[in-house]
Symmetry: C2
Subunit: 163 residues, 2 copies
Amino acid sequence: MTGAEILPVEEAGIEDGKTGLSFGKFERSAGFLLRIAQLTVFERMFAELKDGHVKIGEFTILLAIAENPGVRQGAMADVLKIKWSNMTKLVRSLEERGLVERFVPPHDRRSVELRLTEEGRKLLETFTPLMFEADRRSLPMLSDEEHATFLALLRKVSGWPPL
Amino acid sequence: MTGAEILPVEEAGIEDGKTGLSFGKFERSAGFLLRIAQLTVFERMFAELKDGHVKIGEFTILLAIAENPGVRQGAMADVLKIKWSNMTKLVRSLEERGLVERFVPPHDRRSVELRLTEEGRKLLETFTPLMFEADRRSLPMLSDEEHATFLALLRKVSGWPPL
DNA sequence: TATTGTTATACTCTATAACTATA
DNA sequence: TATAGTTATAGAGTATAACAATA
């Protein structure tokens, strides 16, 4: 179903290589390009990991917990830009699958602290190398130098300090 | 583009990484960083559209039609990575709001060609400049040179030819 | 037979408000 | 009163399959 016909482009609009569709001035838009790039990379990156062990969002949560043991659930939700109400279900699901432990500390019994179980740790250790291979392999068009520059700029855009 | 007013990071509502959470090795992942960067920039860029005129996806469709008048509906769906079944509802909604015209050409009466109405054109012309201002302003942390490099790398990653 | 588009449906993500229990 | 988390629900966005009309 990729029957996209080549359209004549009157003006000096830049054509998409595959389809012949132009996006005019917006091909100079960082936001627009970021969206296309993100979709493109994610498609490549998770193509091999589609076997259903963990979803992208769940993997990110496991990672955040692994890197920040005992992190409070709400604080993690804020950082990942996930609503508290939605985080509840996500964490509960991970708990039910034996990947995450929820702990209510006595000093503040409103809160919930999160840690990985041994199984969660194993799962993360299994998939992390695959993710990194896929991550680099999803950008075959960039030289090592360009890749490094790209990462540095993305960090800057995301408001993170240089490596 | 020139020495325009650059918003301070805090005012721009961009995460400053002072949240205390770490993402370890994944702060070197292009896919992960792309997702964060895209969310950040999009939030900023489409703040103008939050007033209920059109949604982000609808704006993109209007743009694609404007740049490719008479584009076939399915071809556009393929490029924007939207399923045909979902594109139907989207286009119909835009048609009902008087922004898009659907035309069944006699030479192939299975297909649907899309064009903007005058109202659709007006709406696009109203919001496009705002989008571009927001686009550049959403990246206050990049110098003009870095911005140009960033765009070039994003184009490369997305499989598009250099400008 | 293949292509174009539609309908129906379901599943995930996300968004909002009301609620609890603790502080 | 304010904070941390939960529940319920509704709305997007996205996915698949069955279908009709046309080529």
